[in-house]
Symmetry: C2
Subunit: 256 residues, 2 copies
């Protein structure tokens, strides 16, 4: 096979899942097409539990999935929201290391793990692509650790909005309309804060004209630069270009 990518590249999309170019997903998908079976999952339905034997690997075709880990007393940390093209359960472990649930109704492509692994060994190209996928996840995991350990609630929310914007870049006609398919509690558990804090922070952002709240699940971005400043320049390794120092950020913070 020649070196030209097979998949549709008609429109110049900038969609960056977890910092990984979309080309990867498509190519993996092509490679695995033969193994695929479909699966539908309802909102809030569990796809698999942490600790379940890992027989299948999934690709999200439609909808949003949350993956998370919990402590015994119920404290939950959502480690990612997965959308079209993202992979679920991608590991060499015998057991899933996190629980996966639908946020919305979800359509999944399901690949049997044993056959996938066999293909991996036989096909270096595929192997490299999956390697790239995992790498992207690792990179975004490190960004998330920075966020969880060192950012304030406001900065966390700002970063989250910027992340979502990057993801849906090019997919929506309106550039600064941001949909929030997940409830506040999910956002909170993703950012390591409480729902109340999410709510209050969103209100604050509205007050200082960073965003506007259209519906409960939809905000419009009024001041992208302001958000970027709050989020910090490296919020997901691309999109920034502008280096900004602390003073600038402070300027935003007191503005309202």
């Amino acid at each position: 096979m020649d070196s030209v990518a097979k998949h549709d590249s008609s429109q110049p999309r900038l969609k960056l899942h977890h910092g990984t170019p979309e080309t990867l997903q498509s190519e993996v998908h092509d490679h695995l097409f033969c193994l695929m079976s479909r699966q539908e999952v309802n909102a809030n339905q569990v796809i698999f539990f942490e600790g379940d034997p890992c027989n299948s690997i999934f690709e999200v075709a439609k909808g949003v999935v949350r993956i998370y880990k919990v402590l015994q007393d119920g404290r939950r940390q959502i480690t990612g929201f997965l959308t079209r093209g993202d992979f679920l359960g991608l590991s060499l472990d015998d057991h899933y290391v996190y629980t996966a649930e639908g946020v919305t109704d979800v359509t999944l492509c399901r690949y049997p793990r044993d056959r996938l692994e066999k293909m991996l060994e036989e096909n270096p190209r595929l192997s490299k692509k999956l390697f790239g996928l995992m790498n992207g996840e690792l990179v975004s995991a490190q960004f998330q650790m920075l966020l969880l350990g060192r950012k304030t609630a406001t900065e966390k929310l700002a970063t989250f909005f910027v992340q979502l914007l990057q993801r849906q870049e090019g997919t929506e006609g309106s550039e600064h309309i941001l949909n929030l398919p997940m409830p506040r509690g999910d956002i909170a558990d993703y950012l390591g804060v409480t729902t109340e804090t999410v709510s209050r922070t969103i209100f604050w952002m509205k007050k200082v004209n960073l965003i506007e709240l259209n519906k409960t699940n939809q905000v419009s971005i009024e001041d992208l630069n302001g958000l970027l400043m709050l989020a910090g320049p490296f919020c997901s390794s691309r999109l920034t270009g502008t280096m900004l120092n602390r003073e600038d950020r402070k300027g935003i913070t007191v503005k309202g």
Copy 2:
């Protein structure tokens, strides 16, 4: 060169880096032996900066390395401490995504990235091994997100101690002596707290007889079960076996 591992394997080690069996490292090491060059790094010396062009990949042969990301104002999040057998800069990106420094004096094996990548494409076995390595890192990154987002300072410290114990399992004669090669500030930036909090928490643990403080950089574990309870049952996916509920943990917390 034959297939027998080159480095010392005289004693039955159970060392689990980031949840990955040590066998992986050895095998990768053997595969890459031909490419290797050595490099010495002093304590607190930078190995590479985040954003530097990524021409080399490193394996830690001796010493401890910290990898971290920073915000503009200097807030730092350490995303990992790497020891013998761990890989540095393992990614397909053109630039390093974190900064790496020696905690102690460090000896590194250095592999040129381009040649490593070529080998990856030609050698599915090697590819699979590296895949496993990355997978392990991803798994521990998810544990760390749970820790950073949802655990209290005390639980964080307890988890950290248990992690270190697992790592040095089998390498030391004395089972419950724990060495802390890194300063308090590093521990703080790894756990998302301040040095003061680390200091106070360690003192508290001593007070309630969970640990004993031998030297500044060495503690002895007096009550491993107590630590495990505080850390939570899944603190790094193995070693636990015992499921414990909230009440038990509370019991510990008030004990002193």
